[in-house]
Amino acid sequence: MQYQSQAVAKPYFIAAIALFVGQVLFGLILGLQYVVGDFLFPEIPFNVARMVHTNLLIVWLLFGFMGASYFLVPEETETELHSPKLAILLFWVFLVAGVLTVLGYLLVPYATLAEITGNSLLPTMGREFLEQPTIIKIGIVVVALGFLYNITITVLKGRKTVVSTILLIGLWGLALMFLFAFYNPDNLVLDKYYWWWVVHLWVEGVWELIMAAILAFILIKTTGVDREVVEKWVYVIIAMTLITGIIGTGHHYYWIGTPEYWQWWGSIFSALEPIPFFMMVIFAFNMINRRRRDHPNKAAVLWAMGTAVMAFLGAGVWGFMHTLAPVNYYTHGSQITAAHGHMAFYGAYAMIVMAIISYAMPMLRGREAANSDRSQVLEMWSFWLMTVAMVFITLFLTGAGILQTWLQRVSENPQPFMQVQENIALFYWMREVAGVVFLIGLIVYIASFFVGGEERRLSRAGGSAAPAPAQARKE
């Protein structure tokens, strides 16, 4: 660790992993409720478990993004963080707010939660992913502003790099777009139109900037490739992200009452959205092939490659699969959507956070650069277990989605929703089994933090450094 204040990232990463565990446990509850309909009913009905599942996802990723920022911004700017104390204070505020929100979901009926938090004063609750009580949303804005203040001042006083600039644009965009969560008109079409400004412009917009910045940082550090090369790549990737992704919002405006020209705008631009993800794959592999040194943290490099590939598959390929309007007419709001959502979030965002945790945590725990070989091997096992499990979750949900679409919307005698659900239950069972494997992977991941052994050190020049293949070859 080069700067003392980077240490504030550690609690953020630990909280992220803890909440991730909660998310996965509730995911297993949901998966079981799909096939054993009365499981935990009426104590934890499906909608409550789903809120916990999706909200924990968002909160742990935000913890991950904030931890990543606190870790990488001092190194990028070559200066200490403006206020480590503020960072620790905001950590506790955010954690307490997050835990209270989840407890609120679980302990009282949602309508009661709405009542006691004064939702009638400024109704913002009860919309997908934005279920948090209004007062919690205001708290999120306050935490975000404090966080952005801290990071922005640090960047302003230090060295300016492309990585920290892109990260800042992404983080400010994240905070700005969240403000649309407070706009909730009676008009359902307008409500939905601007709801997507939070949801789509986050995950298919500014979050991709954050992901690209974190990925670039990890690649610079682990490969030693010249910063100029990395930065050029990053600019092109995020240019393509926003050029395709902003108008790509139109793929949500096909069937919600908006004008039908959105079917053209949305189809054409969102069909191009896989491009930046594909470029990220080429970028990551290219940098690693051209590496000037072999970093001892193999696990971090594996996560970095993995996130690029899985983001391309989940967001790019699975997104493209149902993004063209004539296809989406049949698949909209089916298990196809769920399949895409799972692999895209895991690939693009869960994995980038685990990549930065993998890179940063050994140093935050006082090691020079990396964990022991034993620990890394276990971590790589967890990588494969979780990633392969997610591939199968996605495949089973895709199978379910294809059948659902056919039985309910295409065949000559369309069946009612609930009847279709029973007919495709086998796929939900298989998804649940894959989910259990995912949980095992997550347990192995956590176990890898507790495995000792002699740490892997940076190879010194002239020492027993592994050969650097890029230099051996003619470039």
Binding site: D38, I246, P259
Partner: protein
């Protein structure tokens, strides 16, 4: 990337391209705003429908159902439930009111939300309004 293409060119594409497409998006949003009154049936929205939307939100209906295809995929689409229930708000009210408190053994069941008569009527009117929105002929059939 080849030597002719410099970092500053890449940076300019990023900033220029982003600003350009933000402006295009805002222009399309402006145009959508002008076109919406023809499609979103805003003339139907009265106090009762507005209350219905609040009831819909404060009971987190979107946590199981889809509405115009958005939401959770655990329970049926409700954008067209008014039509599926024979154009009857009474049928919608009766369904919601009659959910068993303890659920149905082994099966998915909607919770009993203990809505008042006013809330029941309001949420049914809200779903009727949703069914009138011009959704470009989605969903493909009455099953949603």
């Amino acid at each position: 990337m080849s030597g002719g293409f410099t970092k500053s060119m890449a940076r300019n594409i990023f900033y220029g391209g982003s600003v350009f497409f933000i402006l295009v998006f805002l222009a399309l949003t402006f145009d959508t705003g002008k076109a919406l009154p023809e499609r979103d049936k805003r003339e139907i929205i009265n106090e009762q429908v507005a209350l219905g939307k609040i009831v819909w939100e404060e009971n987190n209906c979107i946590g199981c159902h889809t509405l115009l295809g958005e939401g959770a995929y655990f329970a049926p689409e409700l954008g067209n439930v008014y039509k599926r229930f024979g154009n009857s708000t009474e049928a919608i009210k009766a369904f919601i009111a009659s959910r068993p408190k303890e659920g149905v053994p082994g099966r998915r069941s909607m919770p009993q939300f203990n809505l008042s008569e006013e809330e029941l009527e309001a949420v049914a009117q809200f779903l009727k309004y949703a069914s009138e929105i011009d959704t470009a002929d989605w969903p493909p059939n009455i099953q949603g």
